[in-house]
């Protein structure tokens, strides 16, 4: 069953430099209890997609069109009050920066508490107990003591655990994780990923994992969506994406990252470069956004914008090679 289905979402930011087409016709589907990986470089629109789902796009940003079907209802049609009942409760989100994502002036128990009090009608005392319980679940040592701590008394990894505890405290159907490990050290990253996978099993929560790190995606995602310049360029099964990437961007990306153990004493394989830079989001081009950087570009690519073509039931690619 599809718990989340985004159809032709367009989100724009009306800035001083013009309108940024941050999310430009994005469609994706996520099954209940699944892990969907969204991968892309900075500015590819992956975070904006997540915020659009959460209904947290503030002016000057605006969702222009499309629908966000959550469990069958279009979130865009909900009032702010109804949306609030979903946020944190049925869809929750954790962010990239654990250092700044917690209110420095409130104790951990108050920050988790205010959420469960809102959504589960617990009393203050019950919420505190619940908080300790949650902290225990995310493997924070001495949860009773830690619940009374302020964020600044914790390390980054610890704070991200608190964020996860908070996000999971209302047992949501979807957890959106926006680069949850990027700011963490490798050893801590491993801890957090491990924890998320464990909890996913326990809570049967679907995870929308947003990251730029192909390694993380390879490790946890079942389905993968590759985004480039506000659009989905390829989606499919994780094995298919990594073994047999169809879009030139996906394949170049995979070839461009150094891999451990590939270099030998005698030879150093040259990394494949993707030439040029990411296109800006302010102009709407009449040709493929990847055209200027594409190693396989043809003349036709400069004349036409490719559409997302379904290859099979759960994979699709946006490239002229596969059109027609």
């Amino acid at each position: 069953m599809d718990i989340l289905k985004i159809n032709h979402l367009k989100t724009q930011f009306h800035g001083l430099d013009g309108t940024a087409h941050a999310v430009n016709d994005v469609s994706l589907t996520m099954k209940k209890g699944d892990i969907l990986g969204v991968v892309g470089e900075s500015g590819s629109g992956k975070s904006v997609t997540a915020l659009s789902v959460m209904g947290l796009i503030k002016p000057p940003g605006e969702i222009v069109s499309g629908e966000i079907l959550f469990d069958g209802t279009d979130l865009r049609n909900l009032s702010e009050k109804e949306m609030r009942k979903i946020r944190g409760n049925r869809i929750s989100m954790i962010f990239q920066e654990p250092m700044t994502s917690l209110n420095p002036l409130l104790r951990i128990r108050d920050q988790i508490g205010e959420m469960v009090m809102e959504h589960q009608n617990l009393s203050k005392k019950e919420s505190y107990n619940y908080c300790v319980e949650m902290l225990e679940k995310v493997q924070i040592p001495h949860p009773e003591k830690r619940a009374k701590d302020y964020p600044h008394q914790m390390s980054g990894g610890m704070r991200q655990r608190v964020m996860i505890a908070m996000a999971l405290s209302c047992n949501p159907e979807i957890l959106i994780a926006d680069e949850p490990t990027t700011a963490l050290d490798v050893t801590i990253q491993a801890q957090v990923i491990d924890l998320m996978l464990n909890l996913k099993e326990q809570y049967e929560t679907g995870i929308l994992m947003i990251t730029h790190d192909l390694g993380v995606i390879a490790e946890i995602a079942k389905q993968v969506v590759v985004m480039y310049a506000g659009q989905v360029v390829e989606k499919g099964d994780v094995f298919e994406i990594f073994d047999n990437p169809k879009h030139p961007y996906t394949s170049s990306l995979l070839k461009s990252i150094p891999k451990l153990g590939r270099r030998t004493q005698s030879s150093r394989p040259r990394l494949e470069e993707i030439k040029g830079v990411v296109p800006d989001l302010f102009t709407v081009r009449k040709y493929c956004d990847f055209f200027r950087r594409c190693p396989d570009a043809t003349d036709e690519c400069s004349k036409k914008r490719p559409a997302l073509v379904n290859i099979n039931s759960n994979s699709a690619v946006r490239c002229l090679k596969y059109e027609g």
């Binding site: 959460m54 947290l56 002016p59 702010e80 949306m83 609030r84 009942k85 979903i86 946020r87 944190g88 409760n89 929750s92 989100m93 962010f95 920066e97 700044t100 994502s101 917690l102 209110n103 420095p104 002036l105 409130l106 104790r107 108050d110 205010e114 959420m115 809102e118 959504h119 302020y150 600044h152 964020m163 908070m166």
Partner: protein, 314 residues
């Protein structure tokens, strides 16, 4: 914590000492002294009396000896004796400090009571006409020369509407306080409104506010628990630092409304070359400023758990 307070209070000493040194020498090289002033130009004072007077006031002694004597008094908490009035400076100031604190406090209340909500609403409605309106109001507040504003208030509320007494202390009652406090508070209010607006906008962009929104709690809870509390820290600094300029402005307001505070005493004493009184007033004003800022620093601890005044960090 207590240790920190004691340390801070001990740090007042070099500040006060330094300021008293500067003020003493500035004031003592002012052209004219208490004797010329008390003589004035209209009424002639004969030479013998003048000399006699200078001797009595100790003005015939060299500057450094006078300073030494003065500091000796200060250490004992004695600000000396007024040149013109046969009263101790301590007494003079103690009579005048309350009225000044009264209007200063009222002004702060007005400023904070109006300024913070104004800035807050303005920031939440950033870019709307409410924002523009309240900010233009706020900026207008700082753009009017104070005595002009005071006179306009006096004209409107005393002469035309006959609601408020135009001047004076009365019995120190509420009605007499309104106009001086408002005149004093308007500029301060504007400043706080603008600071609040900037601070709120800054806090609104913080990650934790986004987290709070993502939690699905009510907008009121987001604004109060997450935005307002964090804003307060930024506002407090302004309130503290600008307190000094507020006290500076009382000079004008007190003169205008014949308010018997320390500001008008200070102006009188400067013009009359009553140096001990001037010194005393300045030191007391600075003392109040230092204490207010100490209190604000301690308030930080209450509001912000990150700040702990233990030995290592400040």
């Amino acid at each position: 914590m207590l240790q920190y307070v004691v340390k801070r209070i001990l740090l007042f000493i070099p500040t006060i000492f330094f300021i008293s040194l500067i003020m003493f020498f500035i004031l003592n090289v002012l052209p004219g002294d208490a004797t010329t002033m008390s003589g004035g130009l209209k009424r002639q004072l004969d030479e013998q009396t003048t000399a006699n007077m200078r001797k009595q006031l100790g003005l015939d002694q060299p500057l450094h000896i006078r300073y030494f004597k003065y500091m000796k008094g200060i250490v004992k908490g004695d600000f000396g004796k007024s040149y013109l009035r046969n009263e101790s400076v301590n007494l003079l100031i103690s009579e005048r400090i309350m009225p000044t604190l009264q209007i200063s406090l009222a002004a702060i209340l007005i400023a904070v009571g109006i300024g913070i909500p104004l800035g807050f609403i303005s920031a939440l409605k950033q870019g709307s006409w409410i924002d523009t309106l309240s900010m233009v109001t706020a900026v207008s507040g700082v753009s009017i020369p104070q005595f002009w504003l005071g006179l306009i208030l006096m004209y409107v509320f005393s002469l035309v509407l006959n609601w408020l007494p135009p001047q004076g202390y009365g019995d120190g009652g509420f009605m007499h306080m309104i106009m001086p406090s408002v005149t004093l508070g308007v500029g301060y209010m504007a400043l706080i409104a603008r600071t609040t607006r900037a601070a709120v906008i800054e806090v609104l962009n913080e990650d934790f506010v986004r987290t709070a929104r993502a939690k699905g709690i009510s907008e009121l809870a987001v604004n109060y628990r997450h935005v307002f509390k964090n804003t307060l820290i930024l506002i407090l600094t302004t309130v503290g630092l600008q307190f000094g300029s507020l006290v500076g402005q009382t000079v004008i307001v007190e003169k205008l409304f014949s308010w018997p505070g320390i500001g008008s005493l200070l102006v009188d004493s400067i013009f009359q070359r009553d140096i001990p009184v001037t010194q005393g007033c300045v030191l007391v004003i600075i003392g109040v400023f230092l204490i207010v800022n100490l209190v604000i620093d301690l308030l930080y601890v209450v509001i912000d758990p990150r700040i702990k005044y233990t030995e290592s960090n400040r």
